[in-house]
């Protein structure tokens, strides 16, 4: 009873926050609602006993991805009035994505072809160990491949943004650290009434 009640509570919150993500006028509010949506899906994962997946979702999406979103959105100078875009423009794309995700869910729930028989697991193990057992044995290649894809994406992003321009002045930390007092300061004895001659 308690579990079912909490499920409907968090699910309702999740859907409400998702709607607010789309319809908030201010993009910063949208990102904050997105954070709430992530948080609610974390609760849902914890509710079905998948605490590892839930908390990793929280660390990765709330702790890193959404912060970077917020970081970028806050720095954009957006006039709120210009954001009242025409929603109809995006409906075909949205329907396409929704269709793909729906098809995936149907495929996974109705025609599920799991490589592993879940019942063979010992239930007493906690789900962190269960995930580790499957991830590094049955799905080893898939896991490594997704790692390589992410690495490529990271290198691509760095290559795209890291443009070398000789006009940019940079701090050279090594030369700063290797500077001694002699390079910068000079002890000069001045005779009264003469001042320092500039070389």
């Amino acid at each position: 009873m308690f579990l079912v009640g909490s499920f409907f509570l968090f699910a309702a919150f999740l859907i409400t926050t998702c709607i607010f993500v789309i319809f908030s006028k201010n993009p910063v509010n949208s990102v904050l609602f997105l954070v709430l949506a992530f948080l609610n899906s974390t609760f849902l994962f914890i509710l079905i006993g998948a605490e590892f997946v839930g908390i990793i979702l929280a660390i990765v999406y709330i702790g890193a991805v959404a912060i970077l979103f917020l970081f970028v959105v806050m720095m954009l100078d957006i006039q709120i009035t210009t954001l009242m875009f025409n929603i109809k423009r995006y409906i075909p794309l949205a329907l396409l994505f929704a269709g793909i995700i729906l098809a995936e869910i149907i495929y996974l729930t109705v025609f599920k072809t799991s490589k592993v028989n879940i019942d063979t697991f010992i239930r007493s193990k906690n789900n962190t160990e269960q995930i580790g057992d499957v991830l590094y044995t049955n799905y080893f290649i898939d896991f490594q491949l997704s790692g390589i894809v992410l690495l490529l994406a990271m290198i691509g992003a760095i290559v795209l943004t890291h443009v070398y321009r000789p006009t940019i002045k940079r701090q050279n930390i090594d030369s700063q650290n290797s500077t001694t007092a002699k390079d910068r300061v000079q002890l000069v004895k001045i005779k009264p009434g003469e001042g320092i001659k500039d070389d």
Binding site: L32, F52, I55, G63, F71, M74, T128
Partner: protein
């Protein structure tokens, strides 16, 4: 009384038994900080309110409570008030999983260390929301600095935690402490211990990494617009976070509630005494660092995080796991 309501009552009492000492020790920590800084700078520090000035922070709290709470007219009102609350809530809910002895903990969960990591990484939201909701230049710059800084140092904290987890083989905080019964992780993982303490300084926005509130360039950083108790909440949260990160250091590296040597007079002392003593020592290091080091420049901070700590911790993860694997010491 039914068993459920009894359970709830005990739970609430347990929560209070953590939160009240934390808040009192925050007040004492502020006093300690001013005394330590005074001693380092050959001053007396607070010495008027109460014996040796020990009631100074309580007087300061009263002063903050009685002041007028100003709301900037151009700010986002809801988020402006919400940000300090969020910061304090996040620094207190983390205590739910901190074990101060082998049996005394509010929630002994399987993924305690991940929960702590998640909660400490949410801490940046309070700062970034405060900076944005103030709708003012200095707080905004402070918020941007803080977001970049905390994300950078979370990466190295994550790798340090992974190194410890490889040695333990469990994500449970009690398991982590119990595996240090014979040898504290601070000894075999000394470089990671140092990296963790420095990253903890950056994560809690303490000197020498307090660029989000750099008074020389940003007035007061992200809480420039805050007054009265909403400033007080940020202040409380910063010190509560310091105590939290110190306890995390003690749990990960200094053997939690275990005595330094497992011999008779030492192991007869209750574990909570050792835990509190170690937390106190780490907190003293925090204050000592503040009194000793000048503030970092922003590019130096980023360089330290990404170009020194990240490769160092990454290599140590590989070295540790390779050593454990080939020496057959890998847990499980």
């Amino acid at each position: 009384m039914t068993s459920l309501s009894l359970e709830i009552t005990i739970g609430i009492l347990k929560i209070f038994s953590f939160v009240v000492p934390v808040l009192v020790s925050v007040a004492l920590l502020v006093y300690l900080e001013r005394k330590v800084l005074g001693a380092v700078q050959l001053r007396k520090g607070p010495n008027v309110v109460g014996p040796f000035g020990i009631l100074q922070s309580f007087a300061d709290v009263l002063k903050l409570l009685t002041k007028e709470n100003l709301l900037p007219s151009s700010s986002n009102k809801f988020l402006f008030i919400f940000a300090p609350m969020l910061t304090l809530i996040l620094s207190l809910i983390a205590w739910a999983v901190i074990p101060i002895s082998s049996t005394y903990v509010i929630a002994n969960i399987n993924i305690g260390i991940l929960y702590l990591f998640a909660v400490s990484s949410f801490g940046v939201y309070g700062v970034i929301i405060a900076g944005w909701a103030s709708n003012s230049k200095y707080p905004f710059l402070g918020a941007l600095r803080s977001a970049a800084q905390m994300i950078s140092y979370e990466v190295s904290i994550g790798f340090v935690i992974i190194t410890v987890l490889i040695c333990v083989g469990s994500l449970n905080l009690i398991d982590i402490v119990e595996s240090q019964k014979n040898m504290w992780f601070a000894i075999p993982l000394l470089p990671m211990f140092v990296v963790f303490i420095i990253s903890a300084l950056a994560e809690t926005n303490r000197l020498p990494f307090d660029l989000p509130e750099d008074e020389a360039t940003l007035v007061a950083g992200f809480f420039t617009e805050y007054s009265s108790i909403s400033f007080g909440l940020f202040f409380l949260a910063e010190y509560a976070n310091m105590i939290l990160m110190s306890s995390l250091t003690v749990i990960l590296f200094l053997g939690g509630w275990y005595p330094p040597i497992d011999i008779f007079p030492l192991n007869a002392v209750p574990g909570i005494f050792w835990f509190v003593t170690k937390v106190f020592l780490i907190l003293f290091v925090f204050l000592w660092v503040r009194a000793t080091f000048p503030r970092y420049r922003y590019d130096q901070l980023m360089r330290l995080g990404w170009k020194i700590f990240l490769p160092l911790t990454l290599i140590w993860v590989v070295i540790t796991s390779a050593f454990l694997f080939y020496s057959g010491l890998l847990p499980n």
